[in-house]
């Protein structure tokens, strides 16, 4: 008989399809795991409303748990409380950086127009002399930056609060 603790461990093997170094646990999208008789219920919350990866994550969770011998898994998507990048774990932030994506920084209030963009250190050389190329990057959750020192173009996982 599988335990909740084991389910949490299995979920460490389910990766975000768009940022494949992060597990769903690193990303902070798993809200709850519960077991009732033989049915495992996993509650997840979407990152962005239109994030196309959510359906895939749902399928991957079911596939992984089935592979681990869990007889039946249901994934429930809840909107509340709304996901924030604050939920990305410390381990997740470290993995992002090693992968070449700058993790979310503490950003100022978005109501300030033309605010000085937050300093995003270059994940390649560590320089703090970088510039934002575009507020929108390869996916909804990222912005596009470039390092002024080593010239590395990189993604920045932008702060969502």
């Amino acid at each position: 008989m599988v335990t909740e603790k084991e389910i949490w461990q299995y979920l460490e093997e389910v990766f975000d399809p768009e940022v494949p170094v992060l597990t769903v646990i690193d990303l902070g999208v798993v809200q709850k795991v519960s077991l009732e008789s033989d049915v495992c219920k996993v509650t997840i919350t979407p990152t962005y409303s239109g994030c196309p990866a959510m359906k895939r994550i749902e399928d991957d969770i079911i596939e992984k748990l089935t592979e681990k011998g869990v007889p039946k898994t249901e994934v429930e998507l809840v909107l509340s409380p709304a996901w924030t990048t604050d939920w990305i774990t410390e381990a997740g932030r470290k993995k992002l950086k090693e992968y070449g994506i700058a993790p979310p920084e503490d950003e100022p209030d978005k109501t300030v127009l033309f605010a000085k963009p937050v300093v995003v250190p270059c994940p390649n050389c560590g320089s703090r002399d970088t510039r934002m190329v575009s507020q929108f990057g390869s996916t909804a959750c990222k912005a596009h930056y470039q390092c002024n020192d080593c010239l590395e173009p990189f993604d920045y996982f932008k702060c969502l609060r």
Binding site: S49, G50, L79, K110, L113, F114, F136, A140
Partner: protein, 249 residues
């Protein structure tokens, strides 16, 4: 009439139609970064539309899914604002339309997060975070273009003059809103219009743009009376489901 269903369809259709309009920029953006920005915004809106229409279908209780509502209604059954169905025009026109709408949406969601309906409050809280990004993006472009060259200034001023007539509809309220406010489902929207005007005027002043003084109002979307543009949007939006009923991938 089911007031809650009607209200959710209004919110969902605003998201769906503006999301579709933005998606039309895919591959046509003036610069790569903006092409990506507009399609990312589009994704957020289509995600919001999914949430609102899914809930609308549940509230209606006739077994209609969000896809049924998005793809299988006729034009007169759509409840979106006339503003969001207006053609993209040039980049400046799209930005002005987006800015007028984002400013309204931010204020609206700031109220709806206090809705006593838990699902509305949850969708609003989720959407508000995204809307703040959207508004920052559109406001900065309005200022950049308005306070830019003579050419860019003139073009966004013309766009603003063209779209202004559709802004009174943002604050349209009828028996649907009255019932939901009375039943305590949604908070009162008193002061929404003045707050919108204040926030819009601030950015327009910074952009050296003149607030249009025409008082001609154009409304009807909330009752299904649309401009000629919606039909063309739906022809494209619904094509696959109409040609291949039940198609999935």
């Amino acid at each position: 009439m089911n007031a809650l269903f009607e209200y959710l369809v209004r919110l969902g259709d605003d998201s769906l139609i503006i999301g579709h309009r933005l998606s039309e920029w895919c591959g046509h953006g003036p610069i790569l970064e903006e092409d990506i920005a507009m399609t990312n915004l589009s994704l957020d809106f289509i995600g919001q539309a999914t949430s609102f229409l899914k809930y609308a279908g549940e509230v209606e209780g006739k077994g209609r899914t969000e896809d049924d509502l998005a793809y299988l209604r006729f034009d007169r059954d759509y409840r979106n604002l006339l503003l969001v169905e207006q053609p993209n025009g040039d980049f400046g026109m799209t930005i002005v339309r987006q800015f007028l709408f984002d400013a309204y949406r931010k204020l609206l969601f700031e109220r709806l997060i206090h809705s006593k309906d838990e699902t509305i409050a949850a969708i609003a809280a989720k959407s508000l975070k995204e809307t703040k990004y959207h508004l920052k993006h559109s406001s900065e472009w309005v200022i950049r273009l308005g306070d830019g060259t003579e050419e860019s200034h003139q073009r966004v001023q013309d766009s603003l003059d063209t779209l202004w007539r559709y802004t009174s509809e943002l604050f349209y309220a009828d028996e649907v809103d009255e019932k939901l406010v009375k039943d305590g489902v949604i908070p009162s929207m008193e002061g929404l219009e003045s707050a919108w005007k204040a926030s819009v005027n601030e950015v327009l002043a910074e952009a050296t743009l003149k607030v249009p003084d025409n008082n001609w109002k154009h409304e009807g979307g909330r009752k299904g009376m649309h401009s000629e543009h919606l039909g063309y949007i739906l022809a494209e939006l619904q094509y696959m489901q109409r040609a291949y009923p039940g198609l999935e991938w």
